[in-house]
Symmetry: C2
Subunit: 99 residues, 2 copies
């Protein structure tokens, strides 16, 4: 995963509503959360929510699964771990002061 893709993911995390969405889905874990429940929890217009979800989908931060009329959302733990690892790896590799 390259720098541009990482930046894209971080940019999507960098919006209050989307960060709230992610936290909600992180807490929900593998049970997931219907779009409608997210909307109720965050009190945001459907069209706005849909816009944010679509952006998060595009960079792989979340995943969706339809079950009849209800669309369940899940946070993508792998994607989030990739971001975290990317931030931390190579820490201090060019620092002569560090062992």
């Amino acid at each position: 995963m390259n720098l541009d893709d990482m930046a894209a993911r971080l940019a999507e995390l960098g919006h209050p509503t989307r960060l709230q969405i992610l936290k909600h889905l992180m807490k929900a874990g593998y049970s997931g959360t219907p779009v409608g429940d997210i909307q109720a929890a965050l009190d945001v217009p459907g069209s706005t929510l849909s816009h944010h979800l679509s952006r998060m989908m595009k960079v792989g931060l979340i995943r969706q699964e339809r079950e009849s009329r209800t669309l369940y959302c899940f946070s993508n733990y792998d994607a989030i771990n990739e971001v975290i690892n990317y931030l931390m790896d190579e820490c201090c590799v060019n620092d002569e002061r560090c062992g």
Copy 2:
């Protein structure tokens, strides 16, 4: 640290040039890097770089220390750890399926 501040930090990380800056500073560790060296490494106009650095400063992602004419930049490890911890904590707390 609240959600809006976290989102602000993540948004600053979510730009290719700024993410590159951060990676550069992460690698440099406690030795830091002069603004001019960053500019040379990333090949970006001074005014553009300055704009990005100022944004990163504002949310506490980096720190600067002047030494005569040279301005050294450092990544703020605490700030980055706060972001990482924020993303991970409360994971699955509402998931009945998880122990």
